[in-house]
């Protein structure tokens, strides 16, 4: 696999390394100062000098070392192109349109922190690995009807995917770019609709996920309730409609969100309280979430 570098990236990495180190700076100056006298093709000459120093000072090896964790990429890709970016939020790897190469936008300062760079590359290249994995089933598609919806779903998708990746890397005993707690906080912000408990269990489920696919992550990004898993008990506020629009037998307001009485037996104190106010009411008549909440409050379980 060929590796291509953005000349600006090389220059900043090399200069950043030399800055503050008199010996390296001296070497750097000795290499570039003759070029000031040169006419024509000077930029290419600078680039060659920078590339030489880049390799000599070991930055190329660091990159290749990170790539060795992904032998499958060597098989499937022809090139990896590294571009300089100034902002952490713009850093990412993506496949080229022909699916034969990878573009990687990276801040030059990454190269000055070998361990940090390795963690970063490991995470980004796992994204690429997933994208090339037929089992994962990645597709580049529109996922929302409007820019706002698209943004929201993609944001959530990104958070879920990041967690899924870091969970797998952790289980492989590899250092991740961000810790579990940080990922949990990202999850929390991406899914504010979930309660604290739901957030914990949802994030844990993704962190420990095995064999999740693009479609799995996308459906969870679109419908937060699915984060809780197929077998999980879905709380009323996340449930689908039970009997849409029919009136609650207690308050008579039309209800789309129903209370869950599945674990409330006839002997439950709550049932008794409801029947004090509504003697004809039966368990199977149902109850809207708000009325249930009130009676929960009365029995002290809210």
């Amino acid at each position: 696999m060929r590796i291509a570098y953005d000349p600006k990236l090389l220059e900043e990495v090399v200069f950043g390394e030399a800055r503050g180190n008199p010996a390296l700076m001296d070497e750097y100056r000795r290499a570039v100062e003759p070029l000031y006298e040169q006419s024509g093709e000077r930029e290419a000459a600078y680039a060659r000098v920078h590339l030489g120093l880049f390799e000599k000072w070991g930055f190329g090896d660091r990159l290749r070392d990170a790539l060795r964790e992904f032998p499958e990429l060597e098989e499937k890709l022809q090139t990896i192109s590294l571009f300089r970016t100034a902002s952490i939020k713009d850093e990412r790897a993506d496949l080229t349109g022909d699916v034969k190469g990878v573009g990687l936008r990276i801040m030059p300062s990454r190269f000055l922190d070998p361990h940090g760079m390795k963690r970063f590359l490991r995470h980004e290249l796992t994204h690429i690995s997933d994208m090339l994995d037929e089992g994962f089933g990645y597709r580049n598609e529109r996922v929302g009807r409007s820019p706002g919806e698209e943004y929201s779903i993609i944001s959530r998708y990104g958070v879920l995917w990041d967690i899924y990746i870091d969970g797998r890397l952790t289980r492989l005993g590899r250092e991740t770019e961000r810790g579990k707690m940080e990922r949990l906080q990202e999850f929390s912000l991406a899914f504010p609709i979930l309660s604290h408990t739901q957030k914990l269990s949802g994030a844990e489920r993704i962190w420990g996920g095995v064999g999740l696919t693009h479609d799995d992550l996308l459906s969870m990004a679109k419908e937060p309730a699915k984060v809780l898993g197929a077998g999980a008990e879905v709380p009323p506020e996340l449930k689908g409609v039970r009997i849409p629009g029919s009136p609650c037998p207690l308050c008579r307001f039309p209800a789309h969100d129903w209370g869950d009485l599945s674990d409330r037996g006839d002997g439950d104190r709550l049932m008794g309280l409801i029947r004090e106010d509504f003697p004809q009411w039966q368990h199977d008549d149902g109850i809207c979430w708000r009325c249930l909440e009130l009676y929960d409050l009365k029995v002290g379980v809210w």
């Binding site: 409007s146 929201s152 609709i193 039309p254």
Partner: protein, 1152 residues
């Protein structure tokens, strides 16, 4: 053919045409004549011609018989003079008067023409309110109440409350009654109720009813103290609205008679506040500079080079004056908005700082830290005008007083300085305040400093940094620090990363704003209800001043931190030692010594306060003060004595929709008002407050006033006096006449002419005498003659410029330019409070606190690790959920710990902040029944009411982030429920079987609005609430309108209201007895509470809600609301709209 004239012409033309064809010269004439040819030859054209009379309608609306000007004076601070045109005695239209450039003052100064034009669409439709179907047409009395009175006012036992429907006012009938009968019933009830609750027997009754002893003690035995009077934003009509407090003064006669006491002991009732109860005051302002509020004339904004709107929407809520800030874009200024949502103001901004609600304090603390760390401050201003150089003791957190360390210290003599000579400081106050101490860098010793030593009068060079040990007169060694040094410690908690986490504001924007404040001058910060309506507004107001204190952006054109909400400024008519009583001469004239000489000068009016201010917030909290049973100290009273309320037995209000606009309104209607024995509403129209009142007294509108009225504003320099131009339509009266009528009836019943004397000149039709007295004794109008103003001597009849020190008026201009003390105890802008209450509550420093409800974290947590913040938590558990426990619990945690705490409500799924700003097309609840305004006011306005579920031609709506709504399964346009904490809302003790619950639960339309962040919904405040009658109406009327039978009240919602989600919060910092500050309407100072000045500021935004689907938005409650299916609405854009938004409908030449 019968030859008629028409036929002849036709024949002749035909001949001409033939000739023209041959000769060619006559053609033009022939064509011209042909143009006159009738379409049909008819004998009577009127039978056949198209009817063109509709054109006359169009033309006639611009014809009029006469015109007049009046002042549109709702609570929006503008007071625009409007010209209305009259034909056949009917106002047919209104327009802007375009007159302001003519307004002048005594000295010939004139207003800038840039003020023109002034008037918004509310003034434009005022005549639709005047002639609309919702006016109060005659006095009314509640049937059950009348029966109670006719039965001799028996004690209101639970049985009698039910018998006379005190517990079901909204289901009772309102009966037409004459003015004389209404006044007689009211007067008789006042006598009866005052008697019932006077003396020991009255106290026993109140004790039995469950009132705390502190409230009963504050009555001092006077039953009249249970009377609560409220003139709705009195400045909107200084005589008719504020006049209700003069009527309250007369209650001292009643007390005198009942208890047999003299003028020395007689007491009137309580004057209910306005500004603070609306939540409109910036409650932190008195804590910074000692003044009630800092604001400026709006044309001062033109001088700003950096305008920061912090929770303030100057576009929608300052409609006639918003151009002043918008013009600044052309004048090279930078505009910044700090708000959770991307609102109208943000569209004008250079940059917008999104922020988590109620975290603005953290933002400003972060900015302050950046400025202090980078030494981006003006040390001279900091030393001369702020408390940063004053030394603070680290042992007890009080400021170091000179008497603490200098043996036998005597306060310096400042009796000839501005504190005494200008600001009205008294010797007693001087003794309490004492002198302060700075560290003199020249001598390296502590030095005493007085409150007069500000600006250039401060001769020493005080230290801002360093720690020092001083020896106190009682022999202790105490470490002290300049406050500046302490703030460096304090701000360690507010580094950029932490502030970003707290506020969720991007780092780079925080840094950019800090840099801009440090480098651009002048800087004007404008806060509004987006700040003041939160529980911790005090801290957010205080914090906004910090960067300005560092950079000297105070007291200069275009500079300052101002607040805008409500036309509160009684100080526009403030009195002083050198002018006379001013406004107090009208509302507080000594009833036992009224001046009856029509020629007397206003200075000769004697003033004595027989009434006491009170916050309606106490009534709004269940008619109780803040008393909490604490684990550590047992029963603890947090309400200061200067604030202590009394039980409410009569509520009498004017020009305010009090019950509709009460936070937690349904709790008031259901549980609190049954304890009130008489409720009187004076209004121009049918409101929910009237439906739940015992009396409705109809007032004249601004356009019908039969005599003069006066107003002015906090946001412009205009004195406005006017009367109406059309006769009253119904049996209504000017407010002042309504009040005088009740006083006269009391005098008649009690055979006491003193009541009549107090209203002598009103009853004689000479109210102008009182007006002239006020003008000649107010610091801002002294020298004006009412007659001259009305004759147009100052440009426009009825108008003149207030006599301000500068035009535009600039807050604290004198302080900064003439070295006058600010109105704090030490005379400086204050970043630190050493009041015992502030220290106990952990708010001695300006510090970020999470709200007691609206937060995902531990309610009310103080975010700090500063060792000099030492709050008392009273032993209250972190698990406590009661609203009062959350209110007083003071837990201090650094952010790293605070961010891991939880709010039980958030955990229960109450994870939407709900903000309730003012509307664009209504003024609070006014215009809520005006058809045009309702149609403009929401996305669901429909004059045809195609969907019969709509309560009227308009419908209240909720704004919500589309993705948040979709996650909840809610479509654009659906009806939704908005519910808050079930423990107390919509009212205490609600249950599904109670029919009133159906009235009280909020249900309304929801509109997708991508401008709002995910966990953030918006519902404009003060719609006309659903009442028992309006709910019954829309559930039973064939047309489905929420139009009450019997009263004609028109609700804006099918069920509930914005107030279903709100409640009152008794903020402890608003209830101190020790805050030293300026009186609101007199040049003088006081300690502790004063209505509208230092008092509970209500906070409707302090709530968390849950949103759930109620009904489909489509017709017949099926499917999606039709407009949301067009492809042109947010989050449902079709391909065409998406292309349009992407600019794809325009092809650029040369591009494919």
């Amino acid at each position: 053919m019968k030859v008629t004239r028409r036929g002849f012409i036709k024949a002749g033309v035909g001949a001409g045409v033939g000739a023209a064809a041959a000769a060619g010269l006559i053609g033009q004439q022939a064509l011209r004549l042909r143009a006159l040819e009738p379409a049909l030859e008819v004998a009577n054209p009127l039978e056949y011609y198209p009817d063109r009379s509709w054109e006359e309608v169009y033309q006639d609306q611009y014809q009029y018989d006469s015109s007049f000007t009046w002042v549109c004076s709702p609570n929006d601070t503008h007071s625009c003079r409007v010209r209305s045109f009259v034909r056949n005695g009917v106002v047919i239209r209104s327009e802007q008067n375009y007159d302001v450039h003519r307004y002048a003052d005594l000295y010939g100064n004139k207003a800038t023409t840039a003020w023109n034009p002034r008037m918004c669409p509310k003034g434009y439709t005022m005549h639709r309110r005047l002639y609309g179907p919702y006016r109060l047409k005659y006095p009314m009395i509640r049937q059950g109440w009348k029966q109670w009175a006719d039965d001799g006012f028996p004690e209101l036992t639970p049985e009698n409350k039910t018998k006379y429907k005190f517990d079901a006012r909204g289901q009772d009938e309102l009966l037409k009654v004459s003015w004389d009968d209404a006044n007689t019933y009211i007067a008789r009830a006042m006598v009866n109720i005052a008697t019932r609750y006077s003396g020991d027997e009255g106290a026993r009754r109140l004790k039995d009813q469950g009132y705390p002893q502190e409230m009963i003690d504050d009555m001092k035995g006077a039953g009249t103290r249970t009377f609560k009077f409220r003139g709705g934003m009195g400045l909107l009509g200084v005589f008719g609205k504020y006049g209700i407090y003069r009527l309250n003064s007369c209650m001292a006669f009643l007390d005198s008679r009942i208890r047999g006491v003299g003028p020395d002991k007689a007491l009137g009732g309580r004057n209910w506040a306005n500004y603070t109860w609306h939540g409109d005051q910036a409650p932190g302002h008195p804590w910074v500079h000692g003044l009630q509020t800092s604001d400026c004339d709006f044309n001062d904004l033109r001088f700003s080079k950096l305008i920061i709107m912090d929770g303030k929407n100057l576009v929608e809520n300052k409609m006639p004056e918003s151009h002043f800030f918008i013009e600044c874009m052309e004048r090279g200024a930078k505009i910044v908005v700090i708000a959770p949502e991307y609102g109208p103001a943000s569209t004008k901004a250079d940059y917008w700082l999104p922020i988590r609600p109620q975290t603005d304090t953290a933002l400003f603390l972060g900015i302050t830290r950046i400025m202090m760390d980078g030494k981006l401050y003006d040390p001279d201003f900091v030393k001369q005008f702020t408390d940063f150089p004053l030394l603070v003791r680290t042992d007890n957190l009080r400021r170091l007083r000179a008497a603490d360390i200098f043996p036998n210290y005597q306060n310096a003599d400042i009796s000839q300085g501005p504190s005494f000579k200008i600001q009205g400081l008294t010797p007693e106050q001087r003794e309490i305040i004492g002198d302060f101490v700075v560290w003199d860098t020249a001598t390296n010793t502590p030095r005493a400093i007085t409150r007069d030593e500000v600006g250039r009068k401060m001769v020493r060079d005080p230290a801002l940094e360093g720690r020092y040990n001083v020896r106190t007169v009682d022999g202790k060694t105490v470490e002290v620090m300049p406050l500046f040094e302490m703030y460096k410690i304090h701000l360690k908690d507010y580094d950029l990363d932490t502030v970003t986490q707290i506020t969720r504001t991007p780092k780079e924007l925080i840094e950019r704003l800090a840099h801009d404040i440090a480098t651009i001058k002048p800087v004007g910060i404008h806060q509004g209800e987006g700040i003041n309506h939160w529980f911790h507004a005090t801290e957010m107001n205080r914090a906004s001043y910090l960067p300005l204190m560092l950079t000297g952006n105070i007291g200069k054109p275009g500079a300052g931190s101002h607040t805008w909400a409500g036309n509160y400024k009684a100080a526009n008519f403030q009195g002083s030692a050198w002018t006379g009583p001013g406004f107090a001469g009208w509302v507080k004239e000594d009833p036992f010594n009224p001046n009856l000489d029509p020629d007397a000068h206003g200075r000769d009016v004697k003033v004595k306060a027989y009434c006491k201010g009170e916050e309606p917030a106490y009534w709004n909290h269940g008619d109780i003060p803040l008393i909490v049973d604490t684990p550590k100290y047992g029963r603890k009273v947090f309400t200061g004595e200067t604030h202590m309320p009394t039980p409410s037995k009569i509520i009498f209000f004017n020009n305010v929709n009090l019950l509709n606009n009460a936070k937690w309104a349904y709790e008031m209607l259901k549980n609190v008002n049954p304890k009130v024995e008489m409720i009187i509403s004076v209004d121009i129209q049918m409101t929910a407050s009237v439906e739940y009142a015992d009396f409705a007294l109809p007032a004249n509108t601004w356009m019908e006033f039969e005599g003069l009225e006066v107003t002015s504003s906090c946001s412009n320099p205009f004195l406005q006096i006017w009367k109406g131009g059309v006769k009253p339509l119904y049996d209504s009266r000017d407010d002042i006449v309504v009040l005088a009528g009740i006083a006269a009836k009391l005098g008649e019943i009690l055979e006491d002419n003193r009541f009549l004397d107090m209203w002598k000149f009103v009853l004689e039709g000479r109210r102008e005498i009182y007006m002239q007295r006020m003008l000649e004794t107010s610091t801002t109008t002294i020298g004006y003659k009412l007659d001259d103003i009305m004759a147009g001597k100052y440009g426009e009849p009825g108008a003149a410029l207030m006599l301000y020190r500068t035009y535009p008026r600039i807050a604290f201009w004198e302080q900064v330019h003439e070295d006058i003390p600010f109105y704090t105890d030490h005379g400086r802008l204050q970043a630190y409070s050493d009041l015992p209450e502030a220290i106990e509550y952990g708010e001695n420093f300006i510090v970020h606190r999470e709200g007691p409800e609206a937060t995902p974290y531990l309610p009310n947590v103080i975010v700090s690790s500063n060792p000099y913040i030492r709050p008392d938590d009273y032993g209250i558990s972190w698990e406590a959920t009661h609203w009062d426990e959350r209110t007083v619990r003071n837990v201090k945690l650094p952010w790293d710990e605070a961010k891991n705490t939880k709010n039980f409500l958030w955990e229960k799924g109450y994870n939407f902040y709900c903000v309730t700003p003012k509307t664009r097309h209504r003024v609070h609840s006014q215009w809520s029944d005006t058809d045009w305004n309702l149609i403009w006011d929401s996305n669901f306005g429909d004059p045809y009411r195609m969907d019969k579920r709509s309560p009227g031609v308009g419908e209240h709506q909720l704004h919500m982030n589309p993705q948040a709504a979709k996650d909840l399964g809610i479509n654009d346009g659906d009806y939704v429920y908005v519910d808050a904490n079930p423990a107390d809302r919509p009212y205490l003790g609600w249950k599904p079987s109670d029919p009133f619950y159906k009235v009280a639960r909020c249900m309304l339309r929801m509109k997708y609005n991508p401008a709002y962040p995910y966990s953030f919904i918006m519902m404009k405040h003060a719609p006309f609430i659903a009442t028992e009658r309006s709910v019954k109406a829309h559930e039973t009327r064939p047309d489905g309108r929420a139009l009450s039978e019997g009263t004609g009240y028109q609700a804006n919602l099918r069920y509930g209201s914005q107030q279903s989600l709100t409640r009152n919060w008794h903020m402890p910092m608003h209830q101190t007895d020790t805050l030293f500050h300026k009186k609101k309407a007199y040049m003088g100072f006081l300690f502790g509470g004063e209505s509208d000045n230092h008092a509970i500021n209500t906070v409707p935004k302090e709530t968390l809600v849950k949103v759930t689907k109620a009904e489909d938005g489509g017709m017949g409650a099926t499917g999606i609301w039709a407009p949301a299916t067009t492809g042109s609405t947010p989050a449902a854009e079709d391909e065409f709209t998406l292309r349009y938004m992407a600019g794809g409908l325009i092809r650029v030449e040369g591009e494919s």
